[in-house]
Amino acid sequence: VAYGGIAAAILCLAGAALGSADLDRRLASGASHFRAGRFDRALVEFKVARQLGARGDVTWYIAAALTKLQRPEDALEAFATAEAEAPDSGDTLLAYYRAIACHDAQLLVCADRILAEVSADAGPKIRSQAEKIRSQLAPLLGPEPPPSAIDALLSRGETALKHQRPTLAALYFREAHALSSRRSDRHRAGEADSRLKAAAVDVAQRSPRR
C-alpha cells in the first residue's frame, strides 16, 4: 500500500484544519518523512505535533508510523487513543494499518475482523491486499483454536497489565475470549471475560475524561 494516501491526508490536514504555523510545519514535515519511508523521523514529528497540542487525527498518524516501524503493541495503543479522541477521522487505509498491527501482535481474530471491514469499503488495491491476508488467516482461524493459544494470550494480557498497559491488555484478553468462544469447551472463557472487564475498568480509570 502506498504511503501517499496518508501523507496527502496529513498535508491537507496541515493546510486546512490546524491554525498553528508550527503545528503545520511539524505535520507537513512528518508527512514528508512518511512519504519518503523515513518512519522514525515521521513518528518524531507527529509526536512533537501532539506535544504542541494537536489531537485526534495526528494520533492516527502516530499509530500508522508505529505500525510501519514494526512496533505493533505501541501502534495498537495509539490506534485505541486515536479512536477515542477522533472516532470519525479514521479511514480505510488507517484501518488497514490497524489490522496489520493486530496481525503483527498475533491478534488474528482482531486482524481478520478489521480486514473484513476494510474489504467492504476500500478501493481495489487495499481490498486486494486485505483479501490476500484474510485468505492466509482463514485456515488458521478455521479449526478449533488450541488451548495453548488462549493460555498464551491471557499470559500476554497479564504481562501488559503488569507494565501498566491496560489498553493492550484488554486487546489480548478480548482475543483470548474470542478464541475461547470458538472452542466447544470454552477454555478459560470466564477468566478471559473477567480479566477483560478488569482491564476495561483500568482503561476507564486512566481516561483523561475522568
Binding site: 522514525d40 506535544q51 504542541l52 516501524l69 512496533r71 498475533q106 498464551a152 500476554r156
Partner: protein, 485 residues
C-alpha cells in the same frame, strides 16, 4: 555553502549524533516538545527515535541542557544494542548461548514475539531447563508461524518427562505439517514416544534361511549341506520405574528353531539390572547382566558381566564408550547327547574372563541420516592359553530414513583375532579374521508394529582351513515395541 559545511549538513541529516549546524532560530517551546518525545521514546526502548528527538531538541534550542545531556548520553555512551532476534542469533552463531538468552529475555520484556519465544524456549530446552522452556514454547505454539516447531519441542519435553501421551499428541499433530523436515522428525519421534514408558515390551517373529547352520568349513556361500530354513521369536521387557534416568531391569529371551538341524537351534535368556544417570545426550549407565545360551535345548554358555557405558555430545557428533568384564563359563554337553558339542575339558579350557571395550563416534548428517564409526577391542583370558586371544577391529553403521515409514540400515565389521599360544591339536597358533555385514529394511506399519527384512553375511578366515567358513542368513518378519506408563 562550502564543501565542509555541506558535508556537515548531510551528516547531521543522517546521524542525529553528528555535530549540529548552528543557525536555526532558537525555539525553546519546540525544543521542550522534542525533549518530551525523546524521553517517551527512550522509555519505550526505542533509542533510535529517542536520539532523533533529542537531536532536534538541541537543534531547536542549543542551550537546552537536558536535551544536550540526553543526546550526549545516548550518543557518547555506547549503549547496549536494543535486543533483537538478529542480535540473539548472532550471539548464538558465535557460540555465546548465555548472552543470546539474555538478549531474548530483554526482548521478551520489550517486544515479545513468537519467533523470539520459540528460540528462547529451544535454548532453554537444550539446557534442560524445561520449566522455563515450556511456557515460552506454549506462547510460540499460539502463533501459526511458529506453532509447528513449538509443538515438536513441547513433544520432546513431554518425552523427556516420560509423559508419552502428551508427546504422542504433539507429534501426531505434526503429521500434516507443511515443513518436510518437521514432518519427518515428528514421525521418528512418534515412534520413539510410542516406545517410551515405565514398561516397554518388544518382540520379533521371523522366518528365513540360513546357508550354513553348523558353520561347516568351505568357500561356497550357497551350496553348503548345512543350509536350512529357520524360524524364531524373541521377547523382551524393560522396566524403568523412573523412566530414562534411574534404575532399570531388562529381561529378554528368544529361540531360533532350525527343524532340519535341531542340534544347532539357539535359545537365549538374559537379565540385566542397572542404573542410568542423565537422560539427554550426556548420560552414563552401569549394569550387571546374566546371560544363558543354549544350543539344541541344552545349556551351553553362562555369562556374568559387569558393564559401564557413557556418551557425550561433541558438536554434531556423539561419542560413546563401553567397557565390560565378562565371566564366561562354558557348560559341557550332557552325556545323553551322542555327539557332544563340548566335553568337560574343552568347556573348562574355553571358560574364563573376557574384558572388552569399544568406542563409537556417531555423526548425524541430517535428521534422516546418521553414520557411526566404531572400534572394538576384546581380550579373552580363557582357562587354556591356546583358547585365549586378543581381538580388535573397526566397524561402521548407518541408518537412513527414506520416508517417515521406511528406513534402511547397514553395518559392517572387521575383526582380527590372534590367539596367545599354539594349539597342540592343530600344531599351530590360530590367527583368524572375521568380516560380517548386512542390510536391513524396516517398514513401520504403525508406531508400534514394523515389518522387516534383513540379509546378513559372515566370512571367517583362519590359518586353520577347517575353521574358515561362509554364512548367509536372510530373515523377514514382524517386530513390535510398545511403551506403557
Amino acid at each position: 555553502m562550502t564543501v565542509p559545511l555541506l558535508a556537515l549538513w548531510l551528516l547531521a541529516a543522517i546521524d542525529p549524533c553528528a555535530s549540529r549546524l548552528p543557525g536555526r532560530k532558537k525555539d525553546p517551546a519546540t525544543a521542550s516538545a522534542y525533549l518530551s518525545v525523546g524521553r517517551e521514546e527512550e522509555s519505550r526502548g526505542a533509542l533510535k527515535t529517542a536520539k532523533l528527538a533529542y537531536a532536534e531538541a538541541v537543534a531547536s534550542d542549543p542551550s537546552n541542557a537536558q536535551a544536550r545531556s540526553a543526546l550526549r548520553r545516548l550518543c557518547a555512551e555506547p549503549v547496549s544494542p536494543p535486543p533483537s532476534l538478529d542480535a540473539a542469533l548472532e550471539k548464538l552463531s558465535a557460540g555465546d548461548r548465555d548472552e543470546a538468552l539474555r538478549i531474548l529475555e530483554r526482548l521478551r520484556e520489550k517486544a515479545p514475539s513468537a519467533s523470539a519465544a520459540l528460540l528462547e524456549g529451544i535454548l532453554n530446552y537444550e539446557l534442560e531447563r524445561d520449566a522455563q522452556a515450556e511456557p515460552l514454547l506454549r506462547s510460540a505454539e499460539a502463533d501459526p508461524s511458529t506453532a509447528d516447531s513449538a509443538k515438536l519441542f513441547l513433544g520432546l519435553i513431554a518425552l523427556r518427562k516420560g509423559d508419552a501421551d502428551s508427546a504422542l499428541s504433539q507429534f501426531r499433530a505434526l503429521s500434516n505439517a507443511p515443513d518436510a523436515t518437521l514432518r519427518s522428525s515428528a514421525a521418528s519421534l512418534l515412534r520413539l514416544a510410542a516406545r517410551e514408558g515405565r514398561l516397554v515390551l518388544s518382540g520379533t517373529l521371523e522366518g528365513g534361511y540360513d546357508s550354513n547352520t553348523d558353520v561347516t568349513p568351505g568357500t561356497q556361500l550357497l551350496s553348503s549341506s548345512a543350509a536350512a530354513g529357520l524360524g524364531g521369536a524373541a521377547l523382551s521387557a524393560l522396566i524403568r520405574p523412573w523412566l530414562q534416568a534411574g534404575p532399570f531391569l531388562l529381561l529378554r529371551g528368544g529361540y531360533r528353531a532350525i527343524p532340519a538341524n535341531p542340534i544347532y537351534e539357539l535359545g537365549s535368556a538374559a537379565g540385566a539390572l542397572g542404573f542410568q544417570l542423565g537422560d539427554g545426550d550426556l548420560r552414563g549407565a552401569a549394569e550387571y547382566q546374566l546371560d544363558l545360551v543354549a544350543l539344541g535345548l541344552h545349556p551351553y554358555l553362562l555369562t556374568h558381566s559387569l558393564l559401564v557405558r557413557g556418551q557425550v555430545p561433541l558438536g554434531r557428533a556423539l561419542l560413546f564408550a563401553e567397557l565390560g568384564a565378562y565371566l564366561e563359563t562354558y557348560i559341557p554337553s550332557p552325556p545323553s547327547i551322542p555327539i557332544p558339542l563340548l566335553t568337560a575339558s574343552e568347556a573348562a579350557g574355553y571358560s574364563g574372563v573376557r574384558p572388552a571395550g569399544r568406542g563409537t563416534a556417531r555423526w548425524r548428517f541430517s535428521p534422516e541420516l546418521f553414520a557411526e564409526l566404531e572400534y572394538g577391542l576384546s581380550r579373552d583370558l580363557a582357562g587354556e592359553r591356546r583358547f585365549s586371544y586378543l581381538e580388535h577391529g573397526p566397524g561402521v553403521r548407518a541408518r537412513w530414513s527414506l520416508t517417515s515409514q521406511l528406513s534402511l540400515s547397514t553395518a559392517a565389521e572387521y575383526r582380527t583375532r590372534a590367539f596367545d599360544a599354539p594349539d597342540p591339536d592343530l600344531l599351530l597358533t590360530r590367527a583368524d579374521t572375521y568380516v560380517n555385514g548386512g542390510l536391513r529394511a524396516e517398514y513401520e506399519l504403525s508406531p508400534s508394529w514394523a515389518l522387516f527384512a534383513s540379509l546378513w553375511g559372515w566370512q571367517a578366515s583362519s590359518n586353520v582351513p577347517e575353521l574358515s567358513y561362509l554364512r548367509l542368513v536372510g530373515t523377514a518378519g514382524f517386530s513390535f515395541t510398545e511403551g506403557f506408563q
